[in-house]
């Protein structure tokens, strides 16, 4: 026997575990978003960088504040607030006034997350709650897009960026025409489709050389970054797949009925925020179902609603509301899609 008495730790099996921790998962989401953020800065310059930094700071600050107020252990270090801030920043137009971005960040964490009890309990995707709030509060600013690849984008801000709190931002229309490389209209492909009936080439959409929100222009880059996360099993590929499937089927249906009036599925898939939202927003683990069938239903619902709102709603961008709606439907979807377990007996068998 050992010289000193042997101490035995008592606990029940399993004694070994192997799983990435929650902070590790969140950190990897940040890594996956970084290339997108870098591309956004390349496209939109200084303003995009400062905007994303502002939303992140606002989110992390709010999280820290509420941790302190509620006397809870600090959850700032789990990276989830950074993810929310980064996601939020990427869905905003590059010239979005910074103070409004800060409001969005505060709302995202305060109303989207802390109100429900923090990470793991949020019913909705926090970033989208923040964005929905400012969409209602500042409808003009959030639909004012500025041209990508403006000439002096790395040395000067977009004029609207530095608007003072509670002040109306400077109009950017005139500035936009000055700095744009070619004839810039300020309209996103979706707005062009909706209000002028012009369809942008899907190839341009795929590569991201179009107007749009900070992080959502290049479908190609989004898919690559998503694939990285999915390969590391930190993103459930089934959700984006189901969203895109739902959107493709729905838009194909309309395209089939009247190709001259409705846009093609490939336009729908690669335009606006759909790709970004499908890969990074709808796949928010906490607010989406866990059951295999539920995941499919959830994704299809998001895709379907997105197309319907785009075609028949008053807004140009729809995926945000589609996801929020599907988030709200998650408990319902789950309750109807519990998996069939191994060797489950049919109802009649159970009774006998």
């Amino acid at each position: 026997m050992a010289k000193s008495p042997l101490k035995i730790d008592l606990r029940t099996s399993p004694y070994i575990r192997k799983a990435p921790s929650v902070p590790q998962i969140m950190r990897n989401v940040v890594y996956a978003l970084l290339p997108l953020a870098a591309y956004a800065v390349y496209q939109f310059g200084l303003s995009a960088l400062v905007l994303m930094s502002t939303t992140i700071l606002a989110c992390v600050g709010t999280e820290a504040l509420f941790n302190k107020l509620s006397d809870k252990k600090s959850t700032v270090t789990d990276f989830s607030a950074i993810v929310t801030g980064l996601l939020l920043g990427m869905t905003l137009p590059a010239g979005f006034p910074l103070w409004m971005g800060a409001v969005a960040g505060f709302t995202a964490i305060a109303m989207g997350k802390t109100l429900f009890g923090g990470l793991g309990f949020n019913v909705f995707n926090p970033a989208l709650v923040g964005r929905a709030f400012i969409q209602a509060a500042f409808p003009v600013s959030i639909t004012t897009w500025t041209p990508a690849l403006a000439t002096d984008r790395f040395i000067e801000f977009i004029p609207s960026t530095l608007a003072l709190p509670f002040m109306k931002p400077l109009p950017t229309a005139e500035w936009s025409t000055q700095v744009a490389i070619d004839g810039f209209t300020g309209a996103t492909p979706l707005a062009l489709m909706k209000f002028q009936g012009i369809f942008t080439d899907s190839y341009d959409l795929f590569l991201g050389t179009v107007a749009g929100s900070t992080g959502e222009t290049s479908s190609l880059l989004i898919l690559i970054c998503g694939a990285y996360l999915a390969a590391r099993k930190m993103l459930d590929w089934r959700i984006p797949a189901a969203v895109l499937f739902g959107a493709a089927v729905t838009s194909e249906l309309f395209y089939f009925m009247d190709p001259s009036h409705y846009p093609s599925p490939s336009f729908m898939l690669f335009s606006g925020g759909l790709m970004f939202a499908a890969v990074f927003m709808a796949s928010d683990m906490v607010a989406s179902p866990v059951t295999p069938l539920g995941i499919f239903v959830f994704g299809c619902l998001v895709g379907f609603l997105t197309i319907i709102i785009r075609l028949f709603g008053g807004l140009t961008e729809a995926v945000m509301y589609a996801i929020l709606f599907a988030n709200a439907a998650t408990p319902l979807i789950e309750s109807y899609t519990q998996p069939r377990i191994y060797g489950e007996r049919s109802k009649t068998e159970k009774k006998s």
Binding site: I16, R17, Y342
Partner: protein, 448 residues
């Protein structure tokens, strides 16, 4: 799930791939563990009723003679693991934490430890089915894979059920353990004999031996012994935890699901562990009883690791002394790291169901802070029964144990621990489920 089977033959959906740690012991041939000076024979070594002691204090016993007899159908006799003197029949600590009756034998140091030849060899192949099953019972054999379910009960198939295939479980999917691996290499002939006896007992025309494909040397060793008529076959299946669970094995080998809450016989199957059948093949023809078993002694902080033939009733303390433990704070586990039982006292003995003694120190994962469930679905993708551990875990936190049982199939969980293994929020899911099941059982008892 038929689509799954189309592309994934010889395995089951979900499950996990833990580090195996088997290389440390799987090449080491079985050696005999020295007899401990004192042997503690628990009377309850099997599922069902404990055996009844038929010896008295001070009585001299010979190795292999019956010292406790079966108490009814769900019980098996116990044979003396050593030659010696009964020191006491007393209450001792058991691995599960409570106290249990045991026969304590002082090993006789001068004895040659020759096995008693009181029982004569039997011409087992001439025996009718019922008597053959009785002969199986007389060997005191129970499921050696860990469950310790009396084998003769398993073999007594209800009249209205027909067994079409016997599945022999040679998966040994628990990390660290290598006893079944060694049995299959070292006792091939006994195993084949055991299989034939089992086929006669359950009246099955066919047997399939399922072996995880991390033990291909076993497959090579067994193949020459298989009969030409194809009634017994050996099949490699994917190495994945928990491949060795009865339900998973049935699905991997045949694509059959054992109905929820039912026995394998309901699906026309009888499933035995390789070590169980090998012991039957070794003991039954000689008319002997089960007095020792192979255990794997392995893990951290040990000077000697390997596979050892240990007399049943050898206390953990004696094994640790022999293996030379160097750590000062460890976790001691009977069985594997996924489903093993913690050892609460060093005086706990080896029983018929013990497959190994695992000492964990560095390689054990300490319980970290429990975070809220982020619904990442990893547990759903790990659960071999396709339960919803995420939802079950949240219900357990709210103590809604009744809902867990009624709506979320709690009782179908066989506690493999895959959900706890993969949880990024460190939620001890399977541990919660055990508590829930226990409390539900108590509640049902109170309700009558």
């Amino acid at each position: 799930m038929n689509l799954f089977r189309l592309f994934n033959k010889k395995t089951f959906p979900h499950g996990i791939h833990p580090e195996e740690y088997k290389a440390e012991t799987n090449k080491k041939p079985t050696r005999r563990l020295p007899f401990a000076p004192e042997i503690i024979v628990l009377l309850a070594q099997n599922i069902g009723k404990p055996a009844k002691a038929i010896v008295f204090k001070g009585q001299k016993v010979t190795r292999g003679e019956i010292i406790a007899e079966a108490d009814g159908f769900m019980s098996v006799p116990i044979h003396a693991p050593v030659t010696g003197t009964v020191k006491a029949i007393d209450i001792v600590n058991s691995a599960r934490g409570g106290k249990e009756n045991a026969i304590i034998i002082s090993t006789s140091p001068s004895s040659g430890q020759v096995i008693s030849d009181a029982n004569s060899p039997q011409n087992y192949l001439k025996l009718p089915r019922e008597e053959l099953i009785q002969a199986v019972k007389n060997t005191g054999i129970v499921g050696l894979g860990g469950a310790a379910f009396p084998t003769h009960v398993k073999m007594s198939i209800p009249k209205d059920r027909k067994i079409h295939t016997i599945l022999v479980n040679g998966c040994e999917c628990e990390p660290f353990l290598t006893t079944d691996h060694r049995v299959m290499l070292e006792k091939v002939e006994q195993l084949m004999l055991g299989i034939r006896i089992a086929m006669k007992c359950v009246d099955a025309p066919k047997t399939i031996i399922g072996i995880e494909n991390n033990k291909l040397d076993v497959l090579e060793a067994i193949t020459p012994h298989l009969p030409k008529d194809g009634s017994i076959t050996a099949v490699a299946i994917k190495t994945k935890y928990p491949q060795g669970a009865e339900k998973m094995l049935a699905y991997s080998l045949l694509g059959i699901e054992i109905p929820s809450g039912g026995l394998p016989s309901e699906a026309g199957l009888a499933i035995f562990n390789v070590a169980t059948l090998a012991e039957i093949g070794a003991l039954l023809p000689k008319g002997q009883g089960l007095i020792e078993r192979i255990i794997t002694i392995t893990g951290d902080d040990l000077k000697k690791t390997g596979n050892y033939l240990a007399p049943l009733g050898t206390p953990i303390r004696a094994i640790l002394d022999y293996a030379g433990i160097t750590g000062d704070e460890v976790e001691l586990i009977l069985g594997g790291p996924m489903m093993g039982t913690p050892v609460r006292s060093l005086d706990v003995p080896i029983t018929k169901g013990t497959g190994g003694l695992l000492v964990l120190d560095k390689r054990a994962t300490k319980q970290a802070d429990i975070l809220p469930c982020i619904k990442c679905t990893q547990c759903l993708q790990a659960c071999p029964i396709r339960l919803n551990p995420s939802e079950l875990g949240q219900l357990a936190a709210k103590r809604r144990y009744d809902v867990m049982e009624e709506d979320y199939h709690l009782n179908d969980c066989f506690e493999c621990g895959a959900c706890s293994y993969v949880c990024p929020s460190n939620i001890p899911l399977v541990q919660y489920f055990r508590i829930a099941k226990t409390l539900n059982r108590e509640r049902h008892l109170q309700d009558g």
